[in-house]
Symmetry: D2
Subunit: 150 residues, 4 copies
Amino acid sequence: MNRAQIGVIGAGDCDARILALAENVGKCIARRNGILICGALGGVMEAASKGAKEENGTTLGILPGKKRDEANPYIDIAVVSDLGEARNALIARSSDVLIAVSGGYGTLSEIAMSLKMGKKVVVLESQWDIKGTYRADNPEEAVDIAFGFL
Amino acid sequence: MNRAQIGVIGAGDCDARILALAENVGKCIARRNGILICGALGGVMEAASKGAKEENGTTLGILPGKKRDEANPYIDIAVVSDLGEARNALIARSSDVLIAVSGGYGTLSEIAMSLKMGKKVVVLESQWDIKGTYRADNPEEAVDIAFGFL
Amino acid sequence: MNRAQIGVIGAGDCDARILALAENVGKCIARRNGILICGALGGVMEAASKGAKEENGTTLGILPGKKRDEANPYIDIAVVSDLGEARNALIARSSDVLIAVSGGYGTLSEIAMSLKMGKKVVVLESQWDIKGTYRADNPEEAVDIAFGFL
Amino acid sequence: MNRAQIGVIGAGDCDARILALAENVGKCIARRNGILICGALGGVMEAASKGAKEENGTTLGILPGKKRDEANPYIDIAVVSDLGEARNALIARSSDVLIAVSGGYGTLSEIAMSLKMGKKVVVLESQWDIKGTYRADNPEEAVDIAFGFL
């Protein structure tokens, strides 16, 4: 059976509290044997990947640019898309379910595309209150809700 | 000098009141010699294109699918992208400024990507209240605000 | 009825003889009221666009990068794709028929994708001898063959 | 250190002899600890993935369509691109080096894009004789040459 592919989305630049949350999300995904999919860059993407690797998980990063070495050091497999913002659609489409940790406009675009595609989106510490998303209070709950949809 | 490229985004399915607003937006863009860019399908996209053609404007449609004949009849030039949702990024990137007329999750994703790219977005009858967008009360005002940013 | 969309593909850097051929291809397309689609950059793309504008034609350029001002000065409407090499697929898909003028690996990729999509491709001064393409001896003949397929 | 990402490209429909070659290519890549990247569908893509899994390798498939279950059963991680032919650019860009096994127009487009990006391409049983590619006589040699470029 296929392993679950869980998208983790969030800003490339954020404070230590958000990074700690993202790292915990990554850990919880790996403990449940999920494959973590993210945008391969810094901030939430790097922290979640780091968490997943601390629990021996698997990480796939879909880069917006054209160089593999732009991926953060916790990415196992890098898709070098060179698609710019359009790569957000691939993260949404490739994820069985998504978890948004905080995040700005880029994250909002991923949330909206995911919902448009009929995907479930769990949000943690989100500034966006978008109908159709599910709010979680902490990383464990976010991952619980996400896996509950599979 | 290059003609302005104005993106008009909104749902492919909407009621008569919204269609009338979109048609007026298209008319106002054409009267100011703007090129209308849209997603080439029905609803707001078709109504805006129809309005632009009624004023002898120029319309570019960026289709998500793989067939040119999926474009509405008011599209002069069709980009057949076969990119699915990722085509939204091209509409945002190709527009000098955007006007959102009502709209659902797809429109929200375009608004968010446009803002992420640093583009100005004018919203008309929007259910989304996204910081950074500019609210207009009617089509004329929306197009006024949009051209004011150029 | 829709105007024909004719793709012109070729290298961004080439000698004066090839530029002259491309310019003539653009002129012939415009005289037959075709819309010229190209990659918006220099070389064959710019020369063909220039030719089309000399005959009051219409030109659509699909840029690989993220800035509209990277388009050559003869592009009427610019699609700013930010898709890198993947934009070649959009040129192929959006063209009713294609004409390749000389060209390197990028052009070869467009020829191959066009053939994969079932499109007709006319080649002029091509270093590639790909089965399924149609060879023309001069710009007039290339455009004649291309329009004959519509 | 990052594991090598090796692209294997070829037709979705081919005869038993080609399938056997592709399966061996997949095995050889896995034995050297490479990650196999392919288009996730049938034919050469499936055979190579099957070979890689027989040697406990890792396989990434980049699907052209919008459903994860269109991937062949030997794909560990699926990128669901919904990009149509444009997904070929992602396979080329994401691979450190590529091996083409036989193949038609789609494969030719990937070879050409890879060369355009400055990637090395090894060809096995290719009908295309494209300057800049490296011919191998058997799967072992193809993978030897490919890893020699890293």
